[in-house]
Amino acid sequence: MTSMYIYYFGLLLFIAGAIIPLIYPQKMKRFAYIFPTVGACAFAAFGMYLLFDHPLDISAVSITPLLGFVFRGDAISGFFILLISILTFSVSVYSMGYTKNMANKGVMGVLFNTFILSMYAVILSGNVITFLISWETMSIISYLLVTFDREEESASAGLLYAIMTHVGTAFILTAFLLLYKYTGHMDFAGIKEATNDIPAGIKTIVFVFAVIGFGTKAGIVPLHTWLPRAHPAAPSNISSLMSGVMIKTGIYGILRIVVDILGVGPEWWGIAIIVIGAMSAVLGILYALTENDMKRFLAYSSIENIGIILLGIGASMVLASNGLHTLSAIAMTAGLYHTLNHTLFKGLLFLGAGSVVHATHSKNMEEMGGLIKLMPYTAFFFLIGSVSICALPLFNGFVSEWLTFQALLFDFKSASAVAKLIAPMSGAALAFTGAMAIACFVKVFGISFLGMPRSQHAENAKETSTSMLAGMGFLSLFCLLTGIFPGHTIKLFSSSVFLLTGADYSSSGMGILSMREISSSISPLSLFIVMISLFIAAVFLVRIFGGKRKITYGNSWDSGIPSLTSRMQYTATAFTNPIRVTFKKIYLSKRHTKVSYALKPYFAKAIEYRDDITPFFEKYIYQPVTDFIHSLAGKVKHLQSGDLHLYLGYILATLILLLIFWS
């Protein structure tokens, strides 16, 4: 019963947070973020309750036998509720400072609170109707947030997003209708009980439609095109929520419909998910690398991480269809762990990018540089986020990637040769992604935070407000804690894993992650302790044996020219050049160089260099489809001449046709 009170308390706070700024936009602006901060704590407690206790029927309102609202929570929802709550807490704290000078503060407050509520509603939906209405609400509110700054770019990004998300919803709707037709149930629990009645062919169609529908929201390749445009267009606190948790509702949908409701399917389902995951990971990070817009870069990197999450989930499905339930549980743990991690570090990185954009008034990395000295705390938190996302040990990304590697290796135990080949190859893809991620984040951090300031704005950048730093600091702390205490973290959501796979993976000890199946284990906690002690030892030993440190400060090596300017630094474009050249078959890059001479061919006055990459999916898949629809619309429009007589004629013709064909 307590949990219900907590739930209603949290709900009230979010509703209050949504209403108050509407009534008093100027006076009470802070409350729009103070309320959700407390509300997030309440929902976090509620999520924990769901994770550690029984499933809970929250409320059911029935309007007609078919149409009714059912909210229900179990361990799977509990995990996602917890994710949303953790990020909401930090983002709310961050927003207090971030929205200070924003136009339309009141509207922002309303949308912020309702957006979070709609995500909670999606996760807690207990039947098809509730789910679809919440899903649609979430999509519409996020559309409003994408177009919030009313610029042309945001508007077109918003339009693309609205179209894509509705195409996705159409697939989801079809999948639900098929489930209803063959089971006769509208609520998820009923559908799950009756899954045996569904013929195998229909199950496959539901699987494909669910993956396409939810995959659109999650941003899998090739349905990702909206993501790198919509996420950066929104204000940064919203980008953080969108990349951190909103795309996870797609993962939730796949888990709920495919793994939970449809249950164990044929092996190729899992293999398909692995392949989609590997493709999203590789292409997402390849496109991320060439991106010089900081927020768009992070959005592409989200696609990569969704791919890594799907690798774990796919591996788990393959193992489940081979009857290896314990291993399947470990693989699912890998997927969920990475879901948690991505929420933490991508949320953090988007908040960091938001601070940087706020301070430098530019999203372009080429106009930043040297920020580590002007914004030391932001830089530090951004570095923690980068280290985590690059899966470097001691931070959380490493634990989940290690688990994913192991999960893919387990797939070698499956019966078919296809799985035996696909799984290790996907492992190699994951290794490639890891190395690419390091290159990407070296570029982002190195170009924007290190070196000399590349523009006037970067020179005048100032550290952001305390509340913004606090929001980032909180997430950074979580990145470290989930990195060195994997045992605890896994225990937190082992009930969700159990619900999804029917097996348990609870690891021994707090800082240790061991697998008896492969006699291997890692202990991030002891890694942490050993590395810290080694670090201290190294510093002391160098002091003792090397004597006192003697430093002369000078200029960087300038090869003898009078002085280096910030324009002579390596740029972000130059940094990625070798990789762009190496993968030019994928990028389809075109290089344009234009030289204007003072005296040909010796004295060049100006050299203009541009390197364009061709977005393959946009150009060869989306553009033809758009063109086709445009031409079709052009043909259809002749029907609508605006002539009243013609319209009356249409009505008459329809009537006659109906009369003829009625019986």
């Binding site: 690059c390 035996k420 290790p424 490639f432 202990s523 390596y570 940094f575 190496t582």
Partner: protein, 305 residues
């Protein structure tokens, strides 16, 4: 004894570097410097004054320690002369690759810190090479790990039978090319020059001097010896001790020394007989060895060995 075997890596790694240099000099018809020269260099650098660019931030000053410490951490996790170790709890080979990545990440960042084109160039090329090498290393590891049924390096070393199976053979060749690339040797990188057209690793270290440079160089020597040790553990573990007994360890130590010197010879022969490749020809070399790694995996699937 088994818990301090990483000391071997720390103290003998400059010697391996000295041996390779000496052999290379002999190949070129020179007498060359003493095999202990790297030790003298390190000692000299530790005592020297440092010149640091005022553009740099704390990243530049912390990076040498992070690189050194992460490499030492990797050394602690590797079975050098005995597979018995209380640290084996962390002796996972995938972890090892990621611990190396810590050093790579911070070295590449530090190279961008001074704001010079040389650093950026080195950093950018290092990233390209590592992107091409990493999947290949992981595939080789998968092949051996699947065959041994574990990703723990000690278990892999113990499980391995003395004769190289076909899949191991292919993985071994791919792994050797990966090592050449990862340690910055010809034909991928030239460790002896500071010429901007050829340098990758040296470019990243250009701004370093004094004890920071010493730490970076030492870490580089250690990484080289560590990679050799991983090869030995994965493909030729014959002679490695399974416990902490004194006689076994003595035999193992001798075997280990011979294997290290052999690998040093292989490296110096490769370096002396090959020419440095252009940077943009590297993808075809590394892509070829990636194909080898895939073949080794396929062989394992098809014939099970």
């Amino acid at each position: 004894m088994e818990n301090i075997q990483f000391i071997i890596i720390i103290f003998f790694s400059p010697l391996i570097q000295g041996i390779i240099k000496k052999l290379k000099a002999n190949f070129q018809g020179r007498v060359g410097s003493s095999i202990f020269q790297p030790y003298y260099d390190l000692m000299r650098l530790f005592k020297k004054e440092m010149v640091v660019s005022h553009v740099t931030s704390w990243i530049f000053r912390v990076a040498p320690y992070i690189v050194f410490v992460s490499t030492t951490m990797a050394a602690i996790m590797v079975p050098v002369i005995t597979t018995k170790s209380t640290y084996s709890i962390t002796g996972d080979i995938i972890v090892l690759i990621y611990v190396f990545a810590i050093g790579k990440f911070f070295m590449a960042l530090a190279a961008l810190d001074a704001g010079t084109a040389f650093g950026g160039e080195g950093s950018s090329r290092e990233m390209m090479v590592s992107i091409l090498v990493e999947p290949m290393i992981m595939l080789c590891i998968f092949t051996t790990a699947i065959a041994a049924g574990s990703t723990n390096l000690a278990v892999i070393a113990e499980q391995h039978n003395t004769i190289l199976t076909p899949s191991h053979m292919l993985a071994f060749f791919a792994f050797m090319i990966a090592i050449v690339a990862d340690t910055g040797r010809i034909p991928v990188d030239n460790p002896d020059t500071h010429l901007e057209l050829t340098m990758i690793h040296e470019g990243m270290l250009l701004e370093y001097s004094g004890r920071y440079l010493a730490l970076m160089e030492w870490a580089h020597y250690m990484k080289q010896m560590l990679l050799f040790t991983i090869v030995v553990d994965m493909f030729f573990p014959l002679g490695i001790a399974y416990n902490g007994g004194m006689s076994e360890i003595a035999v193992s130590f001798a075997a280990y020394g011979i294997k290290m010197i052999f690998l040093a010879c292989v490296m110096s022969i490769v370096e002396s007989t090959r020419a440095k490749l252009r940077v943009f020809e590297l993808p075809s070399l590394l892509g070829g060895s990636f194909a080898l790694a895939v073949l080794s995996l396929l062989t394992l699937i098809m014939i099970g060995r």
